[in-house]
């Protein structure tokens, strides 16, 4: 008789229930598909960041300095003293649980340590142990625990499973911003050289050449020139964008993803078409910069100092070129940095004017201090004053829904402007359910430097709540396009849709503008910016 076990015996050996242990007793497993690769030491060296060395998160030895606990303790103390909000957020949480089920990573992965309250507890437990009387005396009874290597690894794992999207903060009755706790936690990890490569290398590139990909000025210009050729083929209009033009009215800065990665490239073509139109019709001079060639700022995911260093080029370039104010493209975290930090970090930009749209006379009050205006606000203002001639019929193949990108929506309240532009450039627009849009928007699942290839399972599970809402409007209204105003969204949504909602493509808002805008002297267009036949033009395009 065979020694092989019977099927039911085998079945009973499968343990498919996870242990019901207390979170402090549940060991952290750094799993494939969830973690990102460690920072390349060369990138840390380029930034003079601490402890550059080769290391691997799944190996036992993380090659930490001998006094790493002291470094964390001192770093923690320094930040508690420096940032009042951090101290308050450590103290006031009553663990009511309002945030617990609001995180897309918790909803998608099912891992309780991704509940924002628990992710914050990872730091709070050490805070109590090191800095509170109750924690020092009562230890674990008071929710305190000492900083050990296991705790450090747990921090690293879960602080890089937070996209700093701030959805949890919308629901916190105390207004605790868990993203800020993640920001501080990542700063502390960076003191030990524990960054991920998807953040550290773009930061190093950006510091060196001005953009995440390390593209040099001539290549940046070449890419935009390619778009100029493509636009001429589609519209018959040759345009000559300004580069580094001194004395231009406005400096335009956008994430480099728009210049180098589809489908963001079509959004970049939309910007070019808009700027050409404004130059021809109203004489407005907008210039691109090959130095400030990156709106994104992965320094924001590293430390305040790094964020400041990378951001400084925006004002420096505006000053060098002598423009009146700055216009910013469709980006996510770039806007949180601009709106909430730039003015105090690198301002005041008293050499710039308070932004006024020279074509409409509109004063952009909310940008009075930063001197930087969001392009959808600018375009919405132009449309409102009938300054753009638009043919929304050229987007009739698009059945659109709109994803509010986390940082513009929650970080600066940009909710209506993109929708106003969309409604004027696209005739088939359907909103996703109310608890998944506007300030309640669900993250793409890949923000804050987590848009690497190796953590795809984390990205797909984190993006599930967003994809689930897209699937609903796809099935109900036939939505075939997901609009957004963020370069990371545009880079990651195609993969997310491929897995969860095949049949839905991704676009930036200014791609719609580029298609709809009627340029002076243009030929009859037969295709959109992607080279796809326009509605009713299928026969003409074939000829």
């Amino acid at each position: 008789m065979s020694d092989l076990p019977k099927a039911n015996q085998l079945y009973h050996t499968i343990e498919h229930r996870t242990p019901a242990t207390d979170w402090m007793d549940t060991p952290t497993v750094i799993r494939k598909g969830i973690y990102c690769y460690a920072a390349n030491p060369k990138s840390l060296e380029a930034l003079s960041a601490p402890n550059p060395r080769e290391w691997n998160p799944v190996e036992e030895d993380w090659k930490l300095p001998d006094n790493w606990q002291e470094i964390i303790h001192k770093g923690f103390k320094e930040r508690l003293e420096k940032f009042r909000s951090f101290k308050v957020f450590m103290d006031i949480c009553v663990r009511c649980g309002a945030c617990a089920d609001k995180c897309h990573y918790f909803i998608g992965t099912g891992d309780p340590k991704n509940m924002p309250v628990l992710r914050a507890e990872l730091l709070r437990s050490v805070y109590r142990n090191d800095f509170t009387m109750a924690g020092k005396i009562m230890g674990r009874v008071a929710g305190a625990r000492p900083m050990t290597l296991e705790v450090l690894k747990e921090w690293w794992s879960y602080l890089f499973q937070c996209s700093e999207c701030r959805r949890c903060s919308v629901f916190c009755p105390y207004g605790i911003d868990t993203a800020e706790i993640t920001i501080m936690g990542r700063e502390l990890l960076n003191l030990l050289g524990l960054n991920i490569d998807w953040i550290a290398t773009p930061v190093a590139n950006c510091y060196r050449t001005g953009n995440h990909l390390g593209i040099q000025p001539h290549a940046f210009k070449d890419m935009l020139d390619f778009f100029v050729d493509d636009i001429e083929e589609i519209t018959g209009v040759r345009m000559a964008p300004n580069f580094n033009k001194k004395g231009a009215d406005i400096l335009f800065i956008t994430p480099s993803g728009d210049v180098f990665a589809d489908p963001g490239t079509y959004t970049a073509m939309g910007y070019l078409i808009l700027f050409h139109y404004l130059k021809e019709k109203y004489g407005l001079e907008v210039t691109w910069s090959t130095y400030a060639s990156e709106g994104g700022n992965f320094g924001f995911f590293t430390s305040h100092e790094t964020m400041k260093r990378l951001n400084s080029k925006m004002y420096a370039e505006a000053k060098r070129l002598g423009v009146k104010w700055i216009l910013g493209g469709e980006c996510g975290h770039m806007w949180r940095v601009i709106h909430q930090y730039m003015d105090t970090m690198n301002g005041p930009a008293d050499f710039l004017e308070e932004p006024v749209n020279p074509i409409t006379g509109t004063r952009f009050e909310n940008a009075k201090s930063t001197k930087m205006v969001h392009i959808t606000e600018f375009t919405a203002d132009l449309i409102k004053h009938n300054k753009l001639e638009l043919d929304p019929g050229r987007n009739d193949n698009v059945v659109l829904t709109f994803h509010d990108s986390c940082n513009p929506a929650r970080g600066m309240g940009l909710l209506e402007e993109p929708r106003y532009v969309i409604r004027n450039t696209c005739r088939h627009f359907y909103e996703m359910p109310a608890n998944t849009i506007r300030e309640n928007t669900f993250c793409c699942g890949s923000g804050s430097g987590l848009n690497a290839g190796e953590d795809m399972e984390l990205r797909l599970t984190g993006g599930l709540p967003r994809a689930n809402a897209v699937k609903y409007v796809h099935e109900k209204h036939g939505v075939n396009m997901l609009g957004c105003v963020c370069a990371i969204d545009r880079a990651v949504f195609p993969d997310l849709m491929r897995y969860w909602v095949p049949g839905v493509d991704v676009t930036g808002v200014h791609e719609l503008v580029g298609n709809a805008l009627i340029l002076p002297g243009e030929k009859e267009r037969t295709t959109n910016l992607r080279g796809e036949d326009l509605p009713g033009m299928e026969d003409e395009a074939d000829e």
């Binding site: 499968i14 969830i34 089920d101 309780p112 509940m115 399972e457 984390l458």
Partner: protein, 179 residues
């Protein structure tokens, strides 16, 4: 009375128990969340699971074909295939949980020979469902690997293109760039 009629009366009870068994494969806090939030958009995993299990149970009773069973399995397995806390066997084992639930449900009923035969056939269909779950799971994992592979290909393609090492071809697609 045949098995289908017997079980039809208990559909809600069986689907709820099956769902609870599935929720039990998650950590305690997660299981509570999956069970308690009815909103489809706030709790997508819980709602996808409920819908899938309800549809699967109806299809098993009706002895539907593999195509419709696969269609109902897909949304749920698609979720569990990327939840890395599960091994492949853990991700799909919930299918087998239905057998003891059904047996428990009819435990106090004296079974006629027809019902016993029906039960055997039903349990065979559950076994087949497990095999289908394996197919769907592998299909989902392959999609993940394809996504990862396309990303890598496209990264190298762009790098080569920037270095001027790619032949000019307006129709070139990184995904199809094999040379």
């Amino acid at each position: 009375m045949r098995l289908e009629q017997l079980l039809n009366e208990h559909t809600e009870q069986i689907v709820t128990k099956w769902f609870n068994a599935l929720a039990g494969t998650y950590p305690l806090n997660t299981a509570q969340f999956l069970k308690s939030i009815p909103d489809t958009f706030a709790n997508p995993v819980g709602n996808i699971a409920r819908q899938s299990l309800r549809a699967l149970f109806a299809e098993l009773l009706a002895a539907n074909d593999h195509k419709s069973l696969t269609a109902s399995l897909d949304p749920l397995i698609r979720v569990r295939a990327v939840q890395t806390m599960f091994t492949p066997s853990q991700a799909t084992a919930f299918v087998l949980e239905l057998k003891p639930i059904v047996r428990q449900c009819i435990a106090e009923t004296s079974l006629s020979p027809e019902v016993t035969a029906d039960l055997k056939a039903f349990e065979t269909r559950v076994d087949e469902l497990l095999l289908l779950a394996f197919d769907v799971f592998v299909n989902c994992r392959e999609t993940v690997y394809q996504i990862k592979a396309s990303q890598e290909k496209s990264r190298f393609y762009r790098a080569f293109a920037r270095a001027g090492l790619v032949r000019e071809d307006p129709d070139a697609d990184p995904d199809s760039a094999s040379s």
